[in-house]
């Protein structure tokens, strides 16, 4: 469209252009996320030789050479096991701490409630590198350094704000009258919770737990600083970044990304709930 034609530009033209920009933005954003994942996939499913050669093929060869190499790499399986252990422990701890806090926030009025909600998020405002040195010193003193529990505690600190906010929003979605009705029908506070609230909230709790798992699974900085022998997968790959062959990096990246992607996709509905967007 030329400058002279601007006057003649009618509403339908403008709408058409708008739709084009809208569509193009969507394609661009999707590509932004999907293209790297696709290359990761291709290179993981190709033989080590073709991963190291150039040009790259646009299609995977479905060769398990890279993955086999990854699995046989010294220390990888131990690192994976550590990652799973730390993530599972983080999941249990952050739900154990976060869900009661979420319940309290949604059901009780107490002084400083609004401030507490904000402060919960503020824990994420401290950059981990700032805390790393004092933490490492503290951990060495208490003997928590280089242990699964020690790292899980740090990851729990990172995951708890989200656990609190997600469960707060889930509990708030359950009318308090349901609990009150249960109390009048013979329940104690505890049985009303287990018989009425818990069944209704369970899918959301699972989602929140999985989110905590993913946070821990993906975390690299604290893992790299606070462990030496008992490396998690992220820390292990980071440590071997310089020395490991390129196909190992691709396979490792793939193994790291997949659980996170699958989990997040599975629980996406509940993550929206955290931001107050009505689910379904």
């Amino acid at each position: 469209m030329t400058a002279t034609a601007t006057n003649a530009a009618t509403a339908p033209d403008a709408r058409k252009a708008g739709r084009f920009v809208f569509g193009a933005s969507i394609v661009l954003l999707c590509a932004w996320v999907l293209v790297p994942i696709y290359f990761l996939l291709i290179n993981t499913l190709s033989s080590p030789e073709s991963v190291n050669s150039f040009p790259k093929s646009a299609w995977p060869e479905f060769d398990l050479g890279s993955l086999t190499f990854f699995a046989n790499f010294q220390g990888i399986l131990q690192a994976m096991k550590n990652s799973v252990l730390v993530a599972a422990l983080t999941m249990a701890l952050s739900i154990g701490i976060g869900a009661p806090a979420g319940y309290a926030l949604s059901r009780f009025d107490f002084p400083g409630k609004a401030a507490f909600r904000l402060l919960v998020l503020m824990t994420r405002a401290f950059p981990l590198p700032l805390l790393a040195l004092p933490l490492a010193v503290l951990f060495i003193r208490t003997g928590l350094d280089d242990t699964v529990l020690g790292l899980a505690l740090v990851h729990t600190t990172l995951a708890v704000p989200f656990a609190v906010l997600i469960t707060f929003s889930l509990f708030s979605g359950i009318p308090v009258e349901l609990e009150e009705a249960a109390w009048t029908l013979g329940c104690t506070r505890f049985t009303a919770f287990t018989k009425v609230v818990l069944p209704l909230i369970l899918p959301g709790i699972v989602a929140s737990a999985i989110f905590a798992f993913v946070i821990s699974w993906n975390e690299v900085f604290a893992a790299a600083v606070l462990t030496i022998e008992n490396r998690t997968l992220t820390a292990f790959l980071l440590q071997n970044l310089d020395t490991s062959p390129i196909h190992l990096k691709f396979a490792g990246g793939f193994i790291l990304v997949m659980p996170a992607l699958i989990f997040i996709f599975a629980v996406r509905k509940y993550l929206f709930a955290m931001w107050g967007i009505a689910n379904r």
Partner: protein, 347 residues
């Protein structure tokens, strides 16, 4: 036997006084309606009886037990909530049987009582459904059936019909009255709807700003309001009020006319009459018609008497036009008098 006695109960939320010193006794098997505008404290009072709210002071007795320190489950009550509170993860059967299961009743007894109350509320065909598959009216029936299945001493209802549409409300109202009369439980029913209150109650407690202004039978509340607030709140349209000046010998001058009234030694009183207790006559209060509303059954005429608003419900055959001057005679035994300062009725 479940008489409810509320003794000197008060409730404050922070600096806000929601209830001030409530005394009320509800007889065994009586249907008591707490009536008032929103924010008058009626729901708070009900929740204190239920045990969902703790009173700041005072005592609550159900039967021969003092219950205000007990949790809801130990008070022998069942409650119906405004938004029904039907458990979404359970079937209708399990909802109605929930309380019985908590009491560890044997399966056969649970089944018998669920089926009996479901039959009573005409929901026996819905027992396998979930709450999401029910209409508002059906959910309301489940909530009532769930309360009745407990066979409680006391049933508490918090505006149970206010979320239903008008036609359904009428139907449920009549049904509720029949079912509750048969169940022989003591009932407290909270509503802001005066028609609901009049039609259901054995006695109405009219509440205003955290106090009970009058607790009496519906017809007594209607005919002999204890305070000007009750007179203006009950009845649609509400009572008319006109200022009255003493004319000596127990007579009072109202809008230029003399009426026999209380012989009290007061400088002024408020004269009150219900709109339907006015008749067109040769002698009476002179009123200028402002708005004429033909309502089918009768004619509602809003008039002006010495600058005050004055309504009359007249026969629908009468022809009245805005601007017409009417002479309206009040039925002598229906005239009521109120003290303008204390707002209380004067005999």
């Amino acid at each position: 036997m479940a008489e409810i006695r509320i003794k000197n109960v008060a409730k404050t939320f922070g600096s806000y006084q929601a209830l001030q010193s409530i005394d009320l006794t509800i007889a065994d098997q009586e249907f008591m309606v707490l009536l008032g505008a929103s924010g008058c404290g009626k729901t708070t009072l009900l929740r204190i009886v239920a045990g969902l709210e703790t009173a700041s002071q005072g005592e609550v007795w159900i039967g021969n037990r003092r219950v205000d320190g007990l949790p809801p489950r130990e008070r022998g009550i069942a409650m119906v909530f405004q938004n029904y509170a039907v458990f979404p993860h359970l079937t209708v059967f399990e909802n109605i049987g929930f309380g019985l299961r908590m009491q560890k009743e044997p399966q056969a007894e649970v089944k018998r009582r669920v089926e009996r109350t479901a039959g009573l509320m005409h929901i026996d065909h819905l027992l396998k459904r979930y709450s999401g598959e029910l209409s508002g009216g059906q959910r309301q029936r489940v909530a009532v059936a769930r309360a009745l299945a407990m066979e409680p001493d006391v049933i508490l209802m918090d505006e149970p019909l206010s979320n239903l549409d008008a036609l359904l409300r009428l139907e449920m109202r009549a049904e509720l009255k029949g079912v509750l009369a048969e169940s022989r439980t003591t009932a407290i029913y909270v509503t802001h709807d005066q028609v609901e209150a009049m039609s259901l109650a054995d006695r109405i407690a009219v509440m205003h700003e955290g106090r009970i202004v009058q607790a009496a039978t519906p017809i007594e509340v209607y005919r002999n309001p204890a305070a000007r607030f009750v007179a203006g709140f009950i009845g649609n349209p509400p009572m008319n009020f006109l200022p009255a000046a003493p004319a000596g010998g127990g007579n009072w001058t109202v809008a230029g006319q003399s009426f026999a009234g209380p012989s009290a030694d007061r400088r002024k009183l408020d004269f009150a009459i219900r709109p339907e207790d006015l008749r067109p006559a040769d002698r009476g209060i002179t009123a200028t018609a402002k708005v004429v509303e033909p309502l089918g059954a009768h004619l509602l005429v809003t008039c002006d008497v010495d600058g005050a608003q004055f309504r009359a419900v007249l026969d629908s055959d009468m022809v009245v036009r805005p601007g017409d001057r009417l002479t309206l005679a009040p039925l002598p035994d229906r005239i009521r008098w109120f003290d303008p300062e204390t707002t209380e009725a004067v005999a």
